[in-house]
Assembly symmetry: C2
Homo-oligomer: 207 residues x 2
DNA sequence: GTTATCTTGCACACTGATGTGCACATTACG
DNA sequence: CGTAATGTGCACATCAGTGTGCAAGATAAC
């Protein structure tokens, strides 16, 4: 009665489905199961062997993605809220492939709740950042901290989902936009990014 | 063979359907024909008497809304690009009821093209504004004019569609956000709005 | 090489939505 | 009032998508 180990191809296929779903749903959040399965090189029937439901597939996608995000949020420890925000935006941007689905699914009425729950840690990070930024005078204070945090989230989602991730300078644009929203003048943001070039292009550290 | 004049109730019902569609689709861009018809107090069958198609209904919705928008864009004639942008944002915001559908439909893959075409004049206005703002040094110059214009559009759409239009200060938030995106520091935006309170609250002119 | 595990195609039942035809009732218009 | 124009309910055909059952074939694990 000793259960056999799961087959290698099976495990790969499951991962393949998640990849395909990530890519496909980023463009069209309501792509059919068939399209997803085909784009993973599998049959629709097989997909149902790996996931009970469309729901199940999407929930897993969200959960896995959210973990990634929350991990990134936790990894940003800069004292200066301006730098922290910039770095957070840049790191999330590097995860573009993963971010886009999240951005698309976050608007889907059916998954709003799950997404919100899964991203709670990230949201807390942003909220704390907004508060700190206001306290030390580097962020705008014409909006309540909560409002500012919300605004940052929404604009981040927009920039991520409505920008061609491949285009050059996209990460730069995203970071600058968020700093503007936080209340920095564009010159200030510009100066900040000149002083810390590694934020946008991590490879430049040693250059 | 002389055709009779169209019945009054018929005309009213047609308008009622458009209203209902505007309200319903703003929340859920893929609401069914049945839901729209019912919410207009009519039967699904009747709706098909007024519009050939779901397509036809939506296209008319977009066309009518776009005319409104373009009209507003044309009405903003301030010399100062900062004030022009603020006023444009505020006026569009007052049209919240109409704006929300447009914002929702603009993302719908099936109608992107039509929406884009219909809103071309508004888009041109924004583009010109971005250019002028950069030339006279009041807007940011770290982004190309075209990029800035695009960014303004996208953020505007986000703010409009993701804000509770009824909440107090929502218009204020929208205007401030767009000025930030344009490159103004929040203090500058704050000062601008203090100097021109009529931008956000047109009733205050005589107060 | 056996065998359990996977994949596949096909048929099927089900659902929600679209668009149409038609007969009947209702109502505004002249 | 008479009539054309509208609204309504119902049946129907169609379509796309979901999820399941099953038998046959392929293949990785042991």
């Amino acid at each position: 009665m000793t259960t056999r180990a799961p087959r290698r191809d099976s495990v790969e296929n499951r991962a393949g489905i998640l990849d395909a779903a990530r890519i496909t749903l980023a463009t069209d959040p309501r792509a059919s199961i068939d399209v997803i399965a085909r784009s993973a090189g599998l049959s629709r029937r097989t997909l149902y062997g790996h996931f009970d439901d469309r729901e199940a597939l999407i929930r897993e996608l969200i959960s896995v993605g959210a973990q990634r995000f929350n991990g990134i949020a936790a990894s940003v420890t800069d004292e200066d809220p301006r730098i922290a925000l910039a770095r957070l935006a840049a790191r999330l941007w590097q995860e573009a492939a993963h971010v886009q689905v999240a951005a698309a699914l976050a608007l889907d009425e059916a998954h709003v709740q799950h997404t919100a729950d899964a991203l709670a840690p990230l949201r807390r990070t942003v909220a704390a950042l907004a508060r700190r930024g206001q306290e030390d005078g580097s962020f705008r204070t014409d909006l309540a901290a909560a409002t500012l945090a919300r605004l940052i989230e929404e604009v981040a989602r927009t920039v991520v989902s409505r920008t061609d991730a491949a285009s050059t300078g996209a990460a730069d644009l995203a970071v600058r936009t968020l700093l503007s929203i936080a209340g920095l003048s564009w010159r200030e943001a510009d100066e900040l990014l000149s002083t810390h070039p590694e934020i946008i292009d991590p490879q430049e550290v040693s250059a």
